[in-house]
Amino acid sequence: MISRVRTALETQQLKLEAQKLVMLLFALYTAIQIAFFKESPIIVGRLVLSLFFLFVIPGWCVLYLWREKIGFFERAVSGTLLFAGIFVLSAYYSGFVGIHIKYSTWIIPFIGYAAFIIQFFASSLHGKVRKH
């Protein structure tokens, strides 16, 4: 019973976070389109989706762990930087085993997505964020 309530709460929270992510997507699109108003919306859209696929969503996934203590927007900004860091490290070192950057570019974001799946289903991480 407790676990079902917890799951329902989690799902509700996740829906809200997803809403915020969509809002962020539109906000970022709008900001970039304003800054580069002479550019075609398709190119701007492709760039924004690239940023989301590569850094924003994976970063949000990784920092989902801290959702109880840190607000969405702060996690989205810092998560983007954090995942950019993870991306750089992974892409650089995967080159040493011969993986071309054109492949690792598409693979590495899934580290973030996997981190989210692990958090969502691993009960030991469920909503527990240590604060001392």
């Binding site: 580069f36 550019e39 190119i43 750089v88 490290l89």
Partner: protein, 564 residues
């Protein structure tokens, strides 16, 4: 649970959009996709663009691509490639060119750095954070903008990752923070090594402060201290290889010397000083005094933003104690680091008048500050944004580089005769071929051989030339053995790479037909005509600015002793 749009979000959206609009938007004429590199104002800027392009084509960065290091194939990939990887990934997924995405990434990360620092400030006081953020617009103007357009973008991006390290430290009591700390530090060293010293120094400083609070003030801080130690271990585990390179290459070539005092920034236009904040420097200085008071008042839990502000002020003056020009690079982002003091200064002023609704008033003040700093209304003594429009590399030269990349054998050797553009010789690496360049710069003691021959009106088979590459920063390091690095540029000496060279040995020759001094272009064309007379040269590509000749018999005589 329902999503509500807070006034704070609208404020952040406005600031974010303004920074992007005034920063890269104005530089690029509000176009994202440029026909050629745009806003590249120095050779270093091309150095980064060409290395990113090279990694995109080669796929890895274990070794330097040969055309970047005078043809060697065993030179260690020595330059921290973090920004390059970010730009390549963006390029692959978005379809934009690397020369665009590397700038986009650097500018975007600059803004994200400002927002992350905003959140660090917000942890101790939200109105202070709101009034601090607008100062960040100044990173995209004047001296700070030089950092972006003259090629300090890896340093600036690494500083943003250093801010991320500070942010993780501000949350170091949270679960797995040690892992994120290790990642942030590792990403910093992999983006620009010297920033690691600054980030590591701050972490050590914060660690000592934390221990001091634990042992002297008897506030339990063991978890924080433990996480910082674990973060350090993660960092060393992830980054040992690049730390080794940084140690064996950069630290060896540029040892720390506290007596090394820099007053000017080499060939750079100017230095960022507190006086660049105009009349606002007094509010910032007032904010510093108030910051000391706040640190004392909150000594059991000192605000990290204030500590970071003072630390980066101290680092910014590192030119007086051995940090040389790197200290000046840190000052490029002073509008972010020192913004906390501006916010505190305004907060204390606001407190004298208003006690309630401070957050709303802080947003209003923030918007007013943004308008003031944006330069929409010129006001004396106020630091204001000034527009900088970037010129694109001319299309004709860009076409020449692209033509060579796409139409010549990978092992072709090129020779560039005089071109106004080629003073920034890193741009020539866009050809992705090994290349020589005629030396046309005179110095007070010596007139360039090329110019002497031009004045004498003779054309010869030998000209003083440079076998070009990124020679002089890291001296072409290569592995000699385990943890043992040799430097080809030092071992062979400069004279091996800069010497009289038989120009008939090359495969392709690039002549500019237009120059700021017409005599130089005329001499170029006279040499080209002389080569054509040999019978084994042909024109393979031509446009109104340049012509490319192909030598079908490299090594055979291509020039008699002719007069121009």
């Amino acid at each position: 649970m329902k999503f509500r749009i807070e006034p704070e979000y609208i404020f952040l959206f406005v600031v974010f959009t303004a920074l992007l609009f005034f920063g890269l938007g104005n530089l690029w004429g509000h176009k994202l996709s440029n026909p050629a590199p745009t806003g590249y104002h120095a050779s270093d800027a091309f150095q980064h663009q060409t290395r990113a392009l090279a990694i995109k084509d080669v796929g890895t960065y274990v070794y330097e691509p040969p055309w970047i290091v005078a043809g060697y194939t065993d030179i260690i990939g020595f330059y921290p490639p973090g920004l390059y990887y970010l730009s390549i990934a963006l390029s692959f997924v978005s379809g934009l060119e690397v020369y665009d995405t590397i700038y986009f990434a650097a500018f975007l990360f600059g803004i994200l750095g400002a927002l992350t620092f905003y959140h660090i400030i917000k942890k101790f006081n939200k109105p202070v954070a709101l009034m601090s953020l607008p100062l960040s617009i100044l990173i995209f103007t004047g001296i700070s903008m030089v950092g972006f357009t003259w090629g300090a973008i890896p340093s600036l991006t690494a500083q943003v990752l250093m801010i991320l390290t500070m942010w993780v430290l501000a949350n170091v009591d949270l679960k797995l923070s040690w892992l994120f700390l290790g990642i942030a530090l590792s990403a910093t060293v992999l983006t620009h090594s010297s920033e690691l010293v600054i980030a590591g120094g701050f972490m050590l400083f914060y660690f000592i402060v934390t221990l001091g609070i634990h042992f002297i003030l008897k506030q339990s801080k063991l978890i924080q201290a433990r996480n910082m130690i674990l973060g350090g271990i993660v960092f060393i585990t992830i980054s040992w290889y690049f730390i080794l390179i940084a140690q064996l290459v950069w630290a060896k070539l540029y040892p720390f010397d506290p007596r090394d005092v820099w007053i000017t920034h080499g060939g750079y236009p100017d230095i960022f000083n507190l006086s660049n904040f105009g009349v606002f420097q007094y509010i910032i200085i007032g904010g510093m005094l108030a910051g000391c008071y706040l640190l004392w008042k909150n000594k059991e839990n000192p605000p990290l933003a204030i500590l970071a502000g003072f630390y980066m002020l101290f680092i910014g003056y590192g030119n007086f104690y051995g940090l040389n020009y790197k200290a000046f690079q840190m000052r490029y982002l002073w509008p972010i680091y020192l913004s906390v003091f501006l916010g505190i200064g305004f907060y204390f002023l606001m407190n004298l008048v208003v006690k309630r609704g401070q957050q709303q008033i802080a947003i209003v003040i923030g918007i007013i500050l943004l308008i003031l700093f944006s330069g929409l209304f010129p006001i004396p003594n106020v630091p204001q944004y000034k527009i900088l429009e970037g010129q694109p590399l001319d299309q004709y030269h860009w076409d020449v580089f692209a033509w060579i990349r796409e139409n010549t054998p990978k092992d072709a050797v090129l020779y560039f005769f005089y071109g106004d553009l080629y003073k920034s010789n890193a741009v020539l690496r866009n050809t992705e071929r090994i290349h020589y360049q005629v030396l046309s710069h005179s110095n007070p003691d010596n007139t360039a051989d090329f110019l002497t021959k031009l004045q004498q009106g003779i054309i010869t088979r030998n000209y003083d030339s440079a076998l070009l590459g990124d020679c002089c920063g890291a001296a072409y390091p290569y592995w000699k053995g385990f943890a043992n690095i040799g430097f080809r540029f030092q071992e062979l000496n400069r004279s091996y790479f800069y010497k009289p060279t038989d120009i008939c040995m090359m495969d392709y020759y690039i002549f500019d037909k237009v120059a700021s001094q017409p005599a130089l272009a005329q001499y170029n064309l006279a040499i080209a005509n002389e080569m054509m007379k040999s019978g084994h040269f042909r024109v393979v590509h031509e446009n109104p600015y340049s012509v490319i000749l192909k030598n079908d018999k490299p090594g055979e005589n291509c020039i008699g002793n002719a007069t121009a």
